[in-house]
Symmetry: C2
Subunit: 312 residues, 2 copies
């Protein structure tokens, strides 16, 4: 079935998501079915604009431009629209098709409204902690596979008793300017940032940072300060881990304030904690965005609506 897709037969229904910054567009519609001619199949079509390469610029004088139209100019500045000659090695768009698409696919590709929620220590105890403890262990089986050496064993860059450092799946492992590594904690006492404490964890976090600096220096010649290390809250899985990303790699969604917390900031907060007593990570209210499809969205939205009603 997949081999017979003719995109010209796509019947447009509605836009699911449009991202002008990322130059992507996801739409829902239908494609004809070869087995049930009167029941077309639902299809998601996702368009992504192809990126420009330096070739475009270097070939301006050798005729890559088909035509240009000056839009405006002032002083030393001018701006144009331009149309390029068609080239076999430079398509206009990449297109990704899911057909037949289920409700789950449609939800996944639909832009979610994001609600900023304030998680007080009380809401953490009553809503978030139970949610974390009930998280399906099958969803972190891949972490266990890495920790036990069943998977990714040949990719481990640094192994210490407390954590492993390896390339993140999102990285192509070749382009250093988009370097993305993952540090996985080997123990199971830290589900998330809220569980970190000065006495048992501060030394481990500092060692993790030093080891990460050494790995990127030794392997890719990146100096100290050349990577950004951060922790997600809420993370996508509740086994403690740290993201290690090249400082030149910007614009990632997962780097946004409210979801990402710098490892350095967490270290600084723990350093200021008293040696005993509750940690500031227990006492703080953390604010983050939740998409409407997130498992915490409904309970947190309901709890906060109640809080607001009482305050207003």
């Amino acid at each position: 079935m997949t081999t017979s897709i003719d995109l010209k037969e796509f019947v447009f229904d509605r836009v699911l998501d449009e991202n002008a910054l990322a130059h992507t567009l996801a739409v829902l519609g239908t494609l004809p079915s070869s087995t049930t001619p009167f029941e077309p199949l639902r299809a998601i079509v996702r368009f992504e604009r192809t990126a420009l390469s330096a070739t475009v610029a270097s070939q301006l004088s050798s005729g890559i431009l088909e035509s240009t139209k000056q839009i405006g100019s002032t002083d030393i500045y001018s701006w144009f629209f331009a149309w390029l000659h068609k080239r076999d090695d430079f398509p206009d768009v990449k297109i990704y098709v899911i057909c037949p698409a289920t409700e789950v696919h449609i939800r996944k590709y639909t832009k979610q409204d994001v609600l900023m929620v304030r998680e007080s220590p009380a809401l953490y105890q009553s809503i978030v902690k139970p949610y974390i403890l009930a998280f399906d262990p099958a969803r972190t089986q891949w972490v266990q596979d890495i920790l036990t050496g069943t998977a990714e064993a040949s990719n481990i860059l640094n192994a210490s008793p407390d954590f492993l450092i390896l390339p993140d799946m999102k990285w192509d492992t070749t382009n250093v300017s988009t370097l993305y590594l993952l540090a996985l904690y080997t123990h199971s006492d830290v589900h998330c940032m809220r569980d970190l404490r000065k006495k048992p964890h501060l030394g481990m976090l500092k060692k993790l940072q030093r080891d990460a600096w050494r790995v990127v220096q030794d392997k890719w010649g990146i100096g100290r300060g050349g990577v950004r290390m951060y922790i997600h809250y809420q993370p996508s899985y509740y086994h403690f881990h740290v993201h290690i990303v090249h400082t030149g790699h910007v614009g990632l969604n997962g780097m946004a304030v409210g979801q990402a917390h710098l490892l350095d900031d967490i270290i600084s907060l723990l350093e200021l904690d008293p040696d005993d007593g509750s940690s500031i990570l227990e006492r703080m209210t953390f604010t983050y965005g939740l998409g409407t499809e997130h498992g915490l969205y409904k309970p947190m939205a309901a709890a906060l609506a109640e809080v607001h009603d009482n305050v207003d």
Copy 2:
């Protein structure tokens, strides 16, 4: 001179910056000069891929696709490269030209290496605070013009004795999903986040937040939790201000952890401060990225190299 630019005469020299996520490319080269034929002018040419609109998807069946090439498929997924018919209302790229370009322009458009620096309270006192106090007042004249009512008076959305809320210059003021407002503090005792204290400022920050929620609710129907409010450290100017951005507007560079701090998190930290004594905002070490052209880059890089030498 600007009217005579013919991009086909551009001679490529080198790439200044390439951003695959944002689909932009800035290059340096030369364009012929009409007055000095043997001395071509240096020119910066910045390409930006045009965004896709829903029109593209809705017109698949009416022949917007010139050709497609299937790249792969598996199960219900398939992916293609596609070439579109040329349309006068849909250029391939927008091009922005600066000619003649100076060294300052070239630096501005050149990708800067970013160094993560850890600003301890001691480094704040010895390097950052003097830098802030020496900041040229002419660079914040525009803030004074707004505060005194000389500029933007008709755009003020909310005025209170302590701050003004108005649309940020980066916003087109029409597309609600990219809403971007600015709250400007009316007094001059807070240069940056480090100056905030519980007693004089906590109440003001909470009122600012409530007022911002009310403005976006009344004017655009955005519910509480529908905007992200954050503070930059380092900011681009040292008069205290807060960014108010729609939660759906993601991928902005200024929203990255390390530069952006949620107003909610700052409020939470101040709430946990004792009523007297030093604030955690004075005692914390803050970590952020500095581009090589930032005024703090050289002194901070030098100071940190010394710290590292002593530790290693």
